[in-house]
Symmetry: C2
Subunit: 205 residues, 2 copies
């Protein structure tokens, strides 16, 4: 082993932290030395939280979001609007939308987007279960909230085709346009073009 | 609990990661979701490394560096020069010096510096044990490698006074001056003044 570690245990802990994304060896060392200064009880709380999550993790049988139970806390919440389903790529996207505090409906986590280059087809994603949810009735709107990439657009189009047999279900997509606080001259031409084509009436708000 | 987490286990793991220094909730979430994608075995390796270190950590009885055994791997290494002791503030400093690959002697980790403002006096630091090491003989040089702060300087001076009874032990301090690659106009005046006073013969290297 390298001579710069006086302790193999220390080196192993630093190695493990340094495997995490975006954490280099210097940061890993700082984190490990921080943990060493904690009470053993606090360290146990940390390792137990990580370990329990990774061993006991479940996915909601309805929306496929991370869940502790058969059905997640969002799907099980009676105050959420069950007539609207927001289709997202992954768990982070659910949190991003929740953080806006602009949405009170339910979610459906696809687990990715259609990407032939990466060998991901519709059958690897939770698209059939989305169709089943719509088919079961009670859904008025499906919001497609995927990334505005080629793969996201392809997935949007695929879901649009699959849902054509449900004329009473409104299919919407997130608005695309200039970001809030963007300067026009720095907005890319595709976004700017789309913003122009999809311009909306000015309401003074 | 906040509605944005679909899982209490997930929230707990994110909370724990977010307690680490320099890690916000967004990064904590990214790290936790990364851990969720790992095999359970990899997660176990991570939690076990952290847990084992914090439960089993020892400090070297000689130099007080982190160690797995009674004596650390640096003190126990017969190829290191036992006649030189480098006095540092903490464990990170040992690694910083090891990383320079310019030092083959031993260390002595004080565990801090004298700081009356923070209620840290000489008795809370491993200064007595340093004097004992010197007193035991076989030491030719003690290098003071503390931070160049007021507290570091006070500690240097205190150790200098304590070691006055050992005229055969050379007491040195790290060179202070311009950093490598520093531009003169951006060097602070105290550093620049000290560099000027402590100028050394130009050897062409």
């Amino acid at each position: 082993m390298s001579q710069q570690y006086s302790s193999a245990l220390l080196e192993r802990a630093v190695d493990e932290f340094a495997k995490l994304p975006g954490i280099g060896r210097r940061t890993a060392m700082r984190l490990v030395l921080h943990m060493l200064r904690l009470d053993v009880g606090q360290v146990d709380a940390f390792t137990d939280a990580v370990s329990t999550l990774c061993h006991d993790v479940n996915y909601c049988s309805v929306c496929h979001n991370i869940s502790d139970d058969e059905v997640c806390q969002i799907c099980a919440n009676p105050s959420r609007d069950a007539t609207t389903i927001c289709v997202v790529e992954n768990v982070q996207d659910v949190m991003s939308i929740e953080n806006t505090q602009q949405y009170r409906g339910l979610y459906h986590v696809l687990g990715g987007v259609i990407s032939p280059m990466d060998g991901v087809g519709p059958s690897q994603l939770e698209i059939d279960s989305l169709i089943e949810r719509v088919d079961a009735g009670g859904v008025d709107e499906v919001i497609l909230a995927l990334s505005s990439t080629m793969e996201g657009d392809a997935t949007n189009f695929y879901i649009f085709r699959r849902l054509q047999g449900y004329p009473n279900v409104k299919l919407t997509v997130l608005a695309r346009g200039m970001s809030i606080n963007d300067e026009l001259q720095y907005t890319d031409e595709v976004t700017l073009g789309r913003s122009l084509v999809n311009r909306v009436p000015f309401t003074g708000r």
